[in-house]
């Protein structure tokens, strides 16, 4: 297998959460991720866009095996990690890492920055004391938190949100992972800081050839940070393809609605009404049958109550919609 192929592969991945309504009633399931398949090459970055409740965060965390999948398969570098025990996953923990959404909550408040960055090294017994210190310094420089003496001995409450997120990124890179999942890494930061952090992430990702999954609800930020774009709705990926291709030629009605809904700063906006579908995303306990979007879709047809096929338009542009079904 060449280095470029199939680094990460998801086949019909499902993650359902069980909810007990009462002591004696049957459990119901929240179908957070309901059949997702995609492949990621080594060093490739993909943006996973969806709104709250779309399942994007659950998908990211399931890929990292922070949850165990309900159905389907996750394969990484040829190994099937779907149902491995936590003990057998230590190598996987080394190869992957997460950048969480909340910079204030993602770092233990009682450790110094140095110690926070050292933790992954300590856990995996990576190097002796000097090597660890060296690695911590390297990684602080990578995220441009210099001079090091100004940051390493400090505690998290002494740093700003943006600086904390840099530390979180540094921590994610300490063990030289091959896959990083960033879950809304900038949505809790000030607008002026977001671009800076995303730029940093992109740089590091490209330089170190890390496979990268960037999860966000803010479609506008994805354009500069990944080659691929996937749109998620109600537990399914409804459209997927090369970033610029999807943005220029959105196929799925939901993607089209998203693009129509997002305002760029333009004084003309206040004079027009946006043409967007009404309603809100469905609840994941009892999603609509067939295509999840069909109750709100301006193009819905009768066939939409049946599960739509995943159609590939040209060049790796996939869409889950009957509109493009073979007639």
């Amino acid at each position: 297998m060449s280095e470029d192929e199939g680094f990460l592969s998801l086949e019909n991945l499902k993650k359902w959460f069980e909810l007990r309504k009462g002591l004696f009633s049957n459990p119901v399931h929240v179908r957070a991720v309901d059949g997702v398949s995609f492949d990621l090459k080594k060093g490739e970055a993909i943006s996973l866009v969806g709104e709250s409740g779309s399942g994007k965060t659950t998908l990211g965390k399931t890929i990292l095996r922070l949850y165990e999948p309900t159905e389907g398969r996750i394969t990484i570098k040829g190994k099937d990690i779907t149902h491995l025990d936590p003990d057998d996953l230590m190598w996987y923990r080394r190869e992957t890492s997460i950048v969480e959404q909340d910079p204030y909550g993602a770092l233990p408040s009682f450790f110094t920055i140095h110690r926070i960055l050292e933790e992954p090294l300590l856990i995996h017994k990576a190097g002796n004391r000097e090597e660890r210190i060296k690695r911590v310094h390297e990684v602080l420089e990578d995220v441009r938190l210099t001079p090091i003496e100004d940051f390493a001995p400090k505690y998290p409450h002494m740093l700003s949100g943006g600086q904390l997120q840099r530390v979180a990124i540094a921590r994610a890179l300490t063990l030289r992972p091959e896959l990083v999942v960033a879950d809304e890494p900038v949505s809790m930061l000030d607008a002026s800081v977001r671009i800076e952090i995303l730029t940093l992430l992109r740089e590091l990702q490209e330089r170190r050839r890390i496979s990268f999954i960037y999860i966000t609800h803010d479609l506008a930020t994805t354009k500069y940070f990944s080659e691929r774009l996937s749109i998620m709705y109600a537990g399914k990926i409804v459209e997927s393809g090369r970033m610029l291709e999807v943005l220029r030629n959105p196929l799925h009605p939901y993607t089209q609605a998203l693009l129509k809904a997002i305002p760029d700063p333009d004084p003309g906006n206040r004079k027009i009404l946006r043409d967007v579908p009404a309603g809100e995303p469905p609840n994941l306990i009892n999603p609509p049958p067939g295509c999840r979007f069909h109750p709100r879709c301006p193009y819905r047809m009768e066939v939409c109550v049946k599960d739509p096929p995943d159609i590939e338009q040209e060049g790796g542009h996939f869409v889950l919609c009957w509109l493009y079904g073979k007639k």
């Binding site: 709104e51 709250s52 409740g53 700003s160 943006g162 000030d190 607008a191 002026s192 800081v193 977001r194 671009i195 800076e196 730029t199 609800h217 803010d218 479609l219 506008a220 930020t221 354009k223 500069y224 943005l247 609605a257 998203l258 693009l259 129509k260 809904a261 997002i262 305002p263 760029d264 700063p265 333009d266 004084p267 906006n269 206040r270 009404l273 946006r274 967007v276 579908p277 009404a278 809100e280 995303p281």
Partner: protein, 326 residues
């Protein structure tokens, strides 16, 4: 005769805290014409929410300074005592929809009753009549009558936000202050709410003060934009002028940092971090992060220079082009 419905002159709001005095609103002035929307944009911690609370006088107990002139239809409401203010201004002429609609609704009261509540309190209306008006208000925001008897937890996020707007409008105020009205909502619901607000503005002849950190979103409603930084309004301009050619360095940087979908412009970031409101920088508050800062900027805080057509900017670079406006 002016068609300004609201004139704010040198409004101050300082909080007293254990760590020092927080100068949340530090001499802010602006006008709002009838039927106009003023967008108040800025990052978190710049004082914009405090500004709204200062106008509608919803203040906590630890106030250090609360001063200035607020002329509502030419009457200075700062001089009103609390009883008069509550009766004549709050929710009667100026209403507010708060950040985080999820938490603005009382979970143990039915939706219909809550929307009617302002009428019961402010206008001494009979319950039956108030509920009728509540139905009307809910209909205006697109919520069906059947939701009158439901509880907030039975509503989706978007519907809760609509209910909060209905509650703010049930007394038919002149001015509605919207503080991040769509913060927890998804993008499509946000667009729907914006559509609703646009419609209501025309139908009810409302004037809006729209507070947000999202510049793109602000353009959905703004006729005029005021940029706030470190408790001060750094620039006010008409929408066309602002979005196309902002003059203040901070405004320029803000506009440049917005990732756009429809253009190929790559967003830039603003180095540094917003300053503390307890000890803001001397001189111009933005000077530590300003690429065009020069000597004077660190020493003197520039006044707002009048560039004509209601365009004001607090920046020494415009001293020659504009007249000083105190």
């Amino acid at each position: 005769m002016t068609d300004n419905i609201l004139e704010v002159r040198k409004l101050f709001l300082y909080y007293a805290t254990r760590k020092g005095t927080v100068k949340a609103v530090d001499s802010v002035s602006f006008d709002l014409k009838k039927g106009e929307t003023l967008a108040l944009v800025g990052e978190s911690g710049c004082g914009k929410s405090s500004m709204a609370k200062a106008v509608i006088r919803l203040l906590p107990r630890n106030i250090d300074k609360y001063d200035g002139e607020v002329l509502l239809e030419q009457q200075n409401i700062m001089e009103h005592d609390e009883t008069t203010f509550r009766k004549d201004v709050r929710w009667k002429k100026i209403s507010m929809a708060f950040q985080g609609a999820m938490n603005s609704l009382n979970p143990v009261l039915k939706v219909g009753y809550q929307v009617a509540e302002p009428l019961l309190i402010h206008e001494d209306m009979k319950k039956q009549e108030a509920l009728e008006k509540s139905i009307e208000s809910l209909r205006m925001v697109g919520i069906h009558e059947s939701f009158m008897e439901r509880y907030p937890f039975e509503l989706s996020g978007g519907m809760k936000q609509r209910a909060v707007i209905a509650m703010a409008l049930v007394t038919h105020p002149r001015i509605l202050i919207l503080d991040e009205p769509t913060s927890a909502l998804d993008v499509i619901t946000q667009a729907n709410i914006m559509n609703l607000l646009k419609k209501l503005k025309n139908e009810m002849g409302l004037s809006y003060i729209f507070i947000t950190h999202d510049i793109g979103l602000s353009s959905e409603l703004a006729d005029k934009v005021a940029v706030m930084y470190a408790g001060e309004v750094q620039e006010i301009a008409k929408a066309e002028a602002f979005y196309r050619k902002p003059t203040h360095p901070y405004s320029q940087k803000l506009m440049a940092s917005v990732p756009t979908l429809r253009t190929d412009k790559k967003p830039e970031f603003i180095p540094g971090a917003p300053p503390s409101l307890i000890s803001p920088p001397t001189g111009c508050r933005f000077h530590p992060r300003c690429p065009s800062a020069f000597d004077r900027c660190s020493k003197e805080n520039p006044p707002a220079f009048d560039l004509g057509s209601g365009h004001y900017v607090k920046c020494w670079w415009y001293e020659q082009s504009g007249e000083k406006n105190e």
